[in-house]
């Protein structure tokens, strides 16, 4: 039985990845900062709670990381842990760095020190590219991070690349573009929009206030993205890939499709409040995922407006 360790299992991606790996017959262990008091909402929603062997781990603690690796003997390690909100990273830059960059160093160092043969997946982010303009970013595009979150992810990416080059560790990164699901927390703008739109449809009468509508992003469906993560670790040699839907939209498009899925006209319910914007934000983030399609046969199937319909359907079912 193949053994997988998901570092940071309680988030959106951790939950979907657990589900996928269990379906594939893996023994799955997952960590969270406090496994005993965690309510495991996401794992419960997917019906995999109880089937994932959960452990407490703060990746800021190098000894803890090494201990978990020794206890679980994984064939594959997926590092998904970290402070994952771009907006919050402006408020908590140090915590963001410690959880993302130092956390990755600790995983890599533990593998090196213990001489493990495990394969490692590092979850990198499209935020590293910053503003891509009209040219979609691919694996050769330079980074230009625009937030403490993105800067921390860039450092972790290079740490992974360096340990691969320097010590021959089997580690690769996926540069993941935005991927959404009903498990996203409301701290993320997409979930905020879905939540507000559903309440408005039920007659709440509230108004949805957003910092901007003009930013361009590439949104995909999270369950497909965890499949890409798994595929990356099944390669013969570790190589980094951009994982994106390949189609980009403005936030206004996203808002329109969410409201349309509820038979509402967004213009009657949304207002722009620049005060909600971030101190700095890339205007346009486009992704080119042709390499992973060619090499690993992965491509996103669910895009807008189908993505909007799924998000709304799930939100209504759980309401």
């Amino acid at each position: 039985m193949r053994r997988a360790l998901i570092v940071g299992v309680s988030g959106q991606d951790g939950a979907y990845l657990s589900q996928l790996l269990l379906q594939k017959g893996y023994w799955v262990a997952g960590t969270s900062r406090d496994a005993r008091s965690n309510s495991w909402t996401n794992l419960r929603r997917l019906g995999v709670h109880g089937r994932v062997h959960t452990l407490s781990l703060d990746t800021g603690d190098p000894e803890g990381v090494a201990r978990v690796l020794e206890e679980t003997h994984p064939d594959e390690i997926y590092n998904l842990a970290g402070q994952s909100s771009v907006g919050l990273s402006f408020e908590r830059p140090l915590e963001t760095f410690a959880s993302i960059s130092l956390g990755m160093f600790h995983v890599l160092e533990a593998i090196r020190r213990l001489g493990l043969r495990a394969r490692v997946f590092n979850a990198c982010s499209s935020e590293c590219f910053g503003d891509t303009g009209e040219n979609a970013a691919d694996e050769g595009s330079p980074f230009r991070p625009h937030s403490p979150y993105a800067v921390a992810k860039a450092a972790a990416y290079w740490a992974a690349a360096n340990y691969r080059d320097a010590y021959g560790l089997w580690v690769c990164s996926a540069i993941l573009f935005n991927h959404e699901s009903p498990l996203r927390s409301e701290r993320f703008v997409t979930s905020k929009i879905v939540g507000a739109a559903c309440r408005i449809a039920r007659g709440s009468g509230e108004r949805l206030r957003l910092g901007t509508l003009t930013i361009v992003r590439d949104w995909g469906w999270a369950p497909e993205y965890v499949d890409a993560m798994w595929r990356l670790l099944q390669q013969e040699l570790p190589r980094d890939y951009v994982v994106a839907s390949g189609s980009s939209s403005t936030l206004e498009d996203f808002v329109r499709e969410i409201f349309a899925a509820l038979d509402l006209d967004w213009r009657a319910h949304v207002e722009v409040d620049p005060a909600l914007g971030r101190p700095s934000e890339p205007r346009c983030v486009r992704g080119d995922a042709r390499r992973i399609a060619r090499d690993l046969g992965w491509s996103a199937r669910c895009r807008l407006p189908e993505l909007a319909r799924r998000l709304v359907r799930a939100a209504r079912e759980s309401a």
Binding site: P93, F97, F105, F143, P145, P148, N162, R278
Partner: protein, 375 residues
């Protein structure tokens, strides 16, 4: 006539090579200079002692504070107390090879250290007052994507040191864009001087050859002789650091000479300063240099003696083979160009190390132990 208010600068890493040259430069410009140094059981201020003991006539002088880049509270408190017009963040675990041994400490001091200073500026409400210089490095270019490297060249860091400095670079850009802090990255190519730490390859060469010339040392062990670098003099480079903070708008600048030499060429050049001609023999790990001819201070060295060998222990897990900078932007916008040539740099370093070696030889002749510290 109204006297202009004295400018206040804060230098983190003031006890290092660049800190010392910069402190001297700023004191000369009439600044009141505050420096942060790590507490240690032993004295660690020898590079700036002359400034400390002899306050400058013009009123500028140096004040030292204990502090550590890994301690947010201390950094914030010092900035709050000093309220500097300019902060130069030079503190770092600055040795590439050591960063493979101590990756986490390197990340903490070099990456988070920069963030801590920027956060302090923001939290203390100094974003509109205090200008910030971040000491970047050509190591960011690592496995170079193009030659020469300019501000537009993408980064490819090849060591934990470079990855940490990459974070510091981008977080500086981010705080400039997000909060309007006057923050600049200087992407400085290698810069050396007689004050360079003894474990850095240039200083190791000049010190080692000077000691060999006087019979204090048998052989010099080096790593990758083929590594090519763009070497300038630290004194020229600290002037560029200051110039960046005197502009009307903050920008990042590559600082380099635009001239490249291999480690082997550095060895040859340093040897010639000592009257020594070397002959290179063998290949790869077996490569070594023997004395082809000797005169002057090294006149006692026998022909054919092996004075340089390879120690693979000095190879890095991932090497940076070649770095060459294009400082066109700094030349155009800052009016900066290096004054000291490669030959003058090597000559100054050799002269200084020869003086120290002669002192050691003198002490030994008179029956005293002379210090011979090792890495």
């Amino acid at each position: 006539m109204k006297k202009r208010k004295q400018k206040i600068a804060l230098i983190t890493g003031v006890t290092g090579q660049d800190g010392a040259y910069l402190a001297e430069f700023l004191v000369g410009k009439g600044y009141l200079v505050h420096g942060i140094k790590r507490r240690a059981s032993l004295f660690n201020t020898d590079r700036v002692d002359h400034l400390y003991r002899d306050p400058h006539e013009s009123g500028g002088h140096l004040v030292l504070h204990y502090g550590d880049m890994t301690d947010s509270l201390v950094i914030t408190r010092i900035i709050q107390k000093v309220v500097p017009d300019e902060i130069y963040n030079l503190a770092a675990q600055s040795h590439v090879a050591v960063s493979f041994e101590e990756p986490e400490y390197t990340a903490n001091a070099d990456a988070l250290g920069a963030l801590r200073v920027l956060e302090a500026i923001r939290i203390l409400g100094l974003a509109a007052k205090t200008r910030f210089y971040q000491a970047g490095t050509s190591e960011l270019f690592g496995l170079v994507r193009e030659t020469p490297q300019s501000e537009a060249t993408p980064f490819y860091p090849r060591s934990p040191y470079a990855a940490a400095k990459l974070y510091a670079h981008w977080i500086t850009v981010n705080y400039r864009e997000a909060y309007g802090i006057f923050a600049c990255n200087g992407i400085l190519f290698n810069h050396e001087s007689p004050l360079r730490g003894e474990t850095f390859v240039t200083r190791k060469i000049t010190r080692g050859l000077a000691r060999i010339a006087l019979g204090l040392q048998e052989c010099l062990f080096l790593g990758n002789l083929d590594a090519k670098r763009d070497w300038g003099h630290a004194r020229d480079y600290v002037r560029a650091q200051w110039l960046m903070l005197q502009q009307s708008a903050p920008r990042d600048y590559v600082i380099a000479t635009g001239e490249q030499h291999s480690v082997r060429e550095f060895v040859d050049c340093a040897a010639r300063e000592l009257g020594l001609e070397l002959g290179w023999r063998g290949k790869g790990r077996g490569e070594h240099a023997v004395v082809a001819s000797s005169s002057g201070v090294s006149g006692k060295l026998k022909r054919g003696k092996t004075v340089v060998r390879i120690d693979p222990g000095y190879f890095r897990p991932t090497e940076v083979e070649t770095l060459l900078g294009d400082a066109t932007r700094a030349r155009r916008e800052l009016g900066w160009k290096p004054v000291v040539t490669f030959g003058e740099l090597v000559s100054e370093m050799v002269r200084e190390d020869l003086r120290i070696a002669q002192r050691d030889a003198l002490m030994r002749r008179h029956g005293y132990d002379s210090p011979d510290p090792h890495e």
